[in-house]
């Protein structure tokens, strides 16, 4: 019972400075893994310098060092030259990553729709390290604990997807940015494409997305139709999938069939996660640059 209670308690969103006491509280490997999955889902690159300090002072337990070594293996520049994104919670499930020293007018805004694992297929710090913090701010939307579909909004913000996008526009003063791009992975991917319409983005990118099994609600469909009819500019859509993953390929074709846009297959990938193999091949930064351009 104690193990179960401890695991349930490790459910908040810790900050890097809270790390050592939380890590030392973990009695089992699974408790440790649960904490570190949550950390990987939220921490910005610069927050890892705190961990590097602790490791340098030999204050970290062995499995923490093993975890840091894993992260460094995924993103070799993360500790030495982290991208200058800092993290701010706009809401429990809406996180803003930005270099506050740079003007928004000089940057583009990426609105990310995380999948059911509450990440963009790789730890968020690893994803951000592949971007240029001088050129991008990132708002990350996550599903809440109930894993409700984005068609029903975002927990803690609104039960309406259009209202969520209005919230994002207002919270970050989206009109300041040079352009807006939306990107979603897996369970967030289809809604990133819809979000591109609702937030007047330049581009909407689906990575291994699929149309939802249930039809969209009437209100949302009407809102989308109105936006598409009266938008000054229509977003470009891109549908990314692993070339060897038939289900994702078929889903991408289906979405392209109804929304238009471009297909982008990732060669040498037969998993429902093309970003991880791209990362392991050292190609993720270049790939993101090409689809976000």
């Amino acid at each position: 019972m104690a193990a179960r209670a401890a695991l349930i308690m490790l459910a908040t969103s810790p900050s890097a400075t809270d790390y050592l006491p939380l890590a030392l509280q973990c009695r089992t490997q699974n408790e440790f893994n649960k904490l570190h999955i949550q950390l990987e889902n939220i921490l910005a690159p610069v927050e890892f310098t705190h961990f590097a300090d602790l490791a340098g002072k030999q204050l970290l337990p062995e499995r923490s060092c093993a975890w840091l070594k894993k992260i460094e293996g995924l993103s070799p520049g993360l500790f030495d030259a982290p991208q200058a994104f800092t993290r701010r919670s706009l809401s429990e499930n809406v996180l803003l990553y930005q270099d506050p020293r740079r003007e928004a007018a000089d940057k583009s805004l990426l609105v990310g729709f995380a999948g059911d694992a509450r990440r963009l297929m790789v730890p968020i710090s690893v994803f951000l390290q592949c971007l240029d913090s001088r050129a991008w701010d990132v708002v990350l939307l996550r599903k809440g604990r109930q894993k409700r579909s984005y068609s029903k909004g975002v927990e803690g913000v609104s039960r309406s997807l259009p209202a969520v996008l209005r919230y994002v526009r207002s919270a970050v003063s989206a009109q300041q940015y040079r352009r807006i791009v939306t990107l979603g992975t897996s369970g967030g991917a289809f809604f990133a494409v819809l979000g591109a319409i609702l937030i007047d983005a330049a581009r909407g990118i689906s990575i291994c997305g699929a149309p939802p099994k249930s039809p969209l609600g009437l209100r949302l469909r009407c809102r989308l139709a109105l936006h598409r009819a009266f938008a000054e500019r229509k977003p470009e859509f891109e549908f990314v999938y692993g070339a060897g993953h038939d289900r994702d390929r078929i889903a991408a074709l289906a979405m392209q069939g109804s929304l238009g846009g471009r297909l982008r297959s990732v060669e040498g990938v037969d998993d429902h996660n093309p970003l991880a193999p791209l990362l392991m091949r050292g190609e993720l930064a270049a790939f993101l640059e090409s689809i976000l351009a």
Binding site: A3, I37, D271
Partner: protein, 86 residues
């Protein structure tokens, strides 16, 4: 009457799929006590295996780890591991 060990397995597979139910073929194999279903048929990545093991521990209090699973090839081995401890 449900089998609590198989319920733990099914719950953990669902947790590793972020709430999606186990694939029908896997659920049927577990219910039938199948000994042929390989772990790689679940197509879990390392993150999913962590979620699986976390769920097993939350449900049963038993500390099955991803490292334990690297020594297994079949789903029935996890079931037997649990039965030996519950």
């Amino acid at each position: 009457m449900s089998d609590s060990v198989r319920d733990v397995l099914l719950g953990a597979i669902s947790a590793a799929r972020y709430g999606a139910p186990p694939p029908p073929a896997i659920a049927a194999a577990i219910a039938a006590g199948d000994r042929e279903t390989r772990l790689d048929q679940l197509r879990f990545d390392s993150l999913a295996w962590m979620e699986f093991c976390i769920s097993v521990e939350l449900q049963s209090g038993q500390e099955l780890t991803p490292e334990d699973i690297t020594n297994m090839q079949y789903l029935f081995e996890i079931e037997e591991w649990l039965r030996a401890r519950l």
